[in-house]
Symmetry: C2
Subunit: 206 residues, 2 copies
């Protein structure tokens, strides 16, 4: 099983990183309420008491781990800021699908699973989605963001997230076709919601 390394004295920051890393790994396999903090401490080679020194409650620890996962996701999907907006959106989509392929269990356990849980988890999930929504709006160029459009953009993210996760189970179509489908869905949805925007949006993905 896990490498129960006898650990030397670490700096606070390093110890936190180590503990969060362990959580990132272990919470991918079991849900939070099935993970005793004793096991985390054992894995890190420290006493229970020290764990509580860094994370006063189990909730604090969990929150820190989920936040770390969110940061990873955002970092992994950050597009090249010098590329044209449409390309940036393409990149985000592509890297997002790649992330979900590689870290499927982590994503399911840490985001999807916690999205309906406690408030502090919903908060993290919402913030993450806001980042993607903002990137999408940026890619659309200078158009008025009506409430309906904002709704559709967030909904499109859900569509992308869920379709990719479902696709990842047995990959019933080629990856390229999936990406085309996901990309094509955005102008389709926007047009359905606001037909006046159709012309501006149709050449989003040439």
């Amino acid at each position: 099983m896990g490498g129960v390394t006898q650990s030397a004295r670490l700096s606070g920051a390093d110890r936190r990183k180590q503990l969060i890393g362990i959580g990132l790994r272990m919470l991918t396999k079991r849900p939070i309420h099935e993970l005793p903090l004793d096991q985390v401490a054992a894995e890190a080679g420290i006493s229970r008491g020290l764990l509580f020194h860094y994370f006063p409650t189990k909730t604090d620890y969990y929150q820190a781990v989920v936040s770390a996962a969110a940061r990873r996701l955002i970092r992994a999907t950050t597009p090249d800021p010098d590329a044209p907006p449409a390309d940036q959106l393409r990149q985000t989509l592509d890297t997002f699908v790649a992330f979900l392929e590689r870290r499927r269990d982590l994503y399911l356990a840490l985001f999807r699973g916690s999205a309906g849980g406690a408030d502090y988890l919903i908060e993290i999930y919402e913030q993450t989605r806001d980042v993607f929504a903002d990137r999408t709006v940026a890619a659309l160029g200078p158009i008025e963001v009506t409430p309906a459009l904002r709704l559709v953009i967030r909904g499109w993210f859900s569509f992308v997230e869920d379709t990719t996760l479902t696709w990842g189970r047995d990959k019933p179509i080629p990856r390229e076709e999936l990406l085309t489908l996901l990309a094509g869905a955005l102008p389709a949805l926007i047009t359905a919601a606001q037909p006046t925007l159709a012309p501006q949006v149709h050449n989003l993905f040439p």
Copy 2:
């Protein structure tokens, strides 16, 4: 607060129903790991021991409650079997939105965020979605269900679910407009995924 009724001797089936009903109510307010089974027992006016007689583990109890919620959702959105397929889909959509409006917390707590995604919960969620996917396929009439189409239909459900939940927070557009948007999204997505189906699908919602 809760009516701690001193309860008489009940039949097994009735006691189960009562306990599940209590779970349905209490789990809407706090997540499962913050709900001691003592409180459930107290609310029902029985001893802890009896609770474990009906549900051997806390997981068993939780699973039973989530299943019950899923059955409620499916029952509440079942369309009139004698109506034409397109009407049935309209009905499902309308009642689904109504359900999410009325039982928002319950839906969020028991489906969207079920405790870090244990397998038995994902299973229930998947089965529920399958029901909606099947209803949608039925409404489309006799067309070949390709893998891509199946993906899009599931994805549409996610779009509907999430958009409605987001909309429910501050209702930035009128309810009717939301329904039109959600309904219009299905043919739009299908067309985006499979242009050959466009003609058959465009008069889905007259």
